[in-house]
Amino acid sequence: MQDQILVSVKDLHTHFELRRGVFGRAGIVRAVDGVSFELRHGEAIAVVGESGCGKSTLARTILGLYRPTKGQVLFEGRPLDGDLRWYRAQIGYVQQDPYGALPPFMDVHRILTEPLVINNFQGDRERRIREVLEEVKLTPVEDFLYKFPHQLSGGQQQRLVIARAMILRPKFIVADEPVSMLDASVRVEILELLRALQRSHDLTVIYITHDLSTVRYFAERIFVMYAGKLIEKAPVQQLLKDPKHPYTQALLAAIPDPDPANAKTFKKVPPGEPPSLVNPPSGCRFHPRCPAFIAGLCDKETPPEFEPSPGHFVECWLYR
């Protein structure tokens, strides 16, 4: 199973039109702009990037919530278009803000019943609800079954969101910053829970985060996203040890290091701001901030994907 391709994303573009007034067109937001990758069965990957680089849009396009402008997503070789009902039971969605993701007037039982009813789950629904609550460790189940989201703690809410994503026994989970809204003390528990579920159910997981320090817990490969593109894709250890793209290098350098000697110094961060997705820079999108900028090339031509070492892909002219 391990080597079978479950999901493949081909040259995916998701653009949004900015409107002004009724007919005016103010521009196009290129939130996802040419993304391709393949995920094997049971593989966990992490997508990292700054806020506003298109991570969440990528997640939602893969979930079939947004229609891609160009390119396509294939699940088990079947393209996502038209009626996606077959796909819904195969995929779970774990959101960033667990409180917002849970309808406030439904109790736990009702929240977990919804996906079963919508996807016409055959079999013992009550039993499945109990099973999944036990799996996410909301136990004893009886204490939680008829509670409302606002009666749960943040960590419990996120467990419930995970339970909802898991209840239809999906093959594929998209977790969009699942721990960024939680207390630091709860984060590790939730990540470990996700990891355990991923292993025991042989799940394919896309873990989206802006926090490189949590990636190690989780993923086998890391994709670095910048301004709507995946600029570097590599196995975790390789990327952490030997980052190729100047942006990835800067990102890694910016991870806080809890050494008292660093208390008085500041980390070096790339100058400038994340680029606008409406008018992205020409050529390589990182070139205005890049320390290794090659004039006449980086600002003119968009770099294609190079493979400096096997399995390590990078979109940067330095590796041409």
């Binding site: 939602r60 979930l63 079939g64 919530l65 996606l84 009902r85 819904r88 039971a89 995929i91 969605y93 959101q95 960033q96 803000d97 917002g100 993701a101 849970l102 309808p103 406030p104 007037f105 439904m106 109790d107 919804e114 996906p115 919508i118 996807n119 009886e142 079954l145 008829y146 509670k147 409302f148 606002h150 969101v161 909802r164 239809l168």
Partner: protein, 369 residues
């Protein structure tokens, strides 16, 4: 199977009960509803029967002690009509004629619940002769000698049912159009919003008066009742639909709407099961505060003589008698204002209940777990 701690309904009920004024309002509404539902039975007379000999008779006194001061079964004295020095009819009690109040007496025929024909009334003197002095008019009579108590009860049915019925129609319209408008947005949104604007730019009262005026005078009361409901609800849904659209615009962007979409819920399911319940608190407030408005709208229409017409009656229509000779009527026949008191009580009760329900349905309220 485990027992449920407390259901949402129980929670709402508990919090509602804690609200004293709201509970009082609820009790008053229930009492009024029961009174008006059994109106024909409780009322001693038919609402249209005229006892011309007793025009403008004041409320009849019920006596519990006879002439010798002994406690007795409640009775009324015969009503005797004479002219005062100015030539106006005045009424006195003739203490020689005693009419004990009887329970479950035969009287004017009617249909219980508009279905079962019968002529049993809860109480009365049992006198079938329209001119018999043994009459019981708890709230007095009007200009043609119709019993105001009976008319108030029977008219109450019209006044109290117009509100909820018109509201049911206008809320349905508001939910459907507001929901579509807010959830789908785009062209539909634009179209529906412009439609509401056109609707809201009609001048309400003049339009109602004009519509009522072109209705043929011989229209059966049931039809004109339904027409008033239609007119009130068609004119009334715009504002609520607007507010709902705003709520849906916010709600559809919420993460839980996205979650429902990601699990494959249909648009209708998302709108009605996932988003609509979030507007419940607003809907309840808008409904309970809307009912008094509709009661008052019907009352104003009928008061002006364009709503419910004689001999059919409603609380507003009963006040219509003040339009001709206000001062004289008020000075000499103050009991004619009693239906107005019922309007005030009903409107206040609905407002109190709405307020309590709003607090009780708020899912974020912590008190009253």
């Amino acid at each position: 199977m485990t027992e449920r701690p407390v259901s949402q309904g129980q929670l709402i009920w508990r919090r509602f009960r804690r609200h004293k004024l709201g509970t009082l309002g609820g009790i008053i509404i229930v009492i009024l509803m029961v009174l008006t539902l059994f109106a024909h039975f409780i009322a001693p007379y038919d609402y249209a029967t005229q006892r011309r000999r007793f025009a403008y008779a004041p409320p009849t006194k019920i006596h519990f002690f006879d002439k010798e001061g002994r406690l007795s079964w409640p009775f009324v004295y015969g009503i005797q009509r004479e002219r005062d020095p100015r030539g106006r009819w005045i009424y006195r009690e003739n203490t020689d004629q005693v009419y004990p109040i009887k329970l479950f007496v035969k009287g004017d025929p009617y249909k219980l619940f508009w279905l079962i024909p019968t002529d049993i009334h809860l109480f009365g003197t049992g006198e079938r002769d329209l001119n018999s002095p043994g009459q019981i008019f708890l709230f007095g009579t009007d200009d043609v000698g119709r019993d105001l108590f009976s008319r108030t009860l029977i008219g109450g049915w019209v006044s109290l049912s117009i509100g909820p019925l018109a509201l049911a129609i206008s809320l349905t319209l508001a939910i459907v159009f507001g929901g579509i408008s807010g959830y789908f947005g785009g062209g539909w949104d634009n179209f529906i919003q412009r439609m509401i604007e056109v609707l809201n730019s009609f001048p309400g009262l003049p339009l109602l008066l004009a519509l009522a005026a072109i209705l043929p005078p011989g229209l059966p009361p049931a039809i004109s009742f339904l027409l008033i409901i239609m007119i009130l609800s068609i004119l009334g849904w715009g504002g609520t639909a607007r507010a709902l659209r705003g709520l849906f615009l916010v709600l559809r962007e919420q993460e839980f709407a996205l979650a429902a979409k990601a699990m494959g819920a249909s648009n209708a399911r998302i709108i009605f099961k996932h988003l609509l319940p979030n507007t419940l608190s607003y809907l309840i407030v808008s409904a309970t505060l809307g009912i008094p408005g509709l009661i008052l709208a019907e009352a104003s229409l009928s008061f002006l003589g364009f709503g419910i017409r004689d001999p059919m009656t409603s609380w507003g229509q009963l006040l219509n008698q003040f339009t001709d000779s206000t001062i004289t009527n008020l000075t000499y026949h103050p009991w004619l204002m009693i239906p107005g008191f019922f309007i005030i009580v009903a409107v206040l009760a609905f407002n109190f209940m709405g307020d309590a329900l709003r607090d009780a349905t708020d899912p974020f309220s912590v008190q009253g777990r």
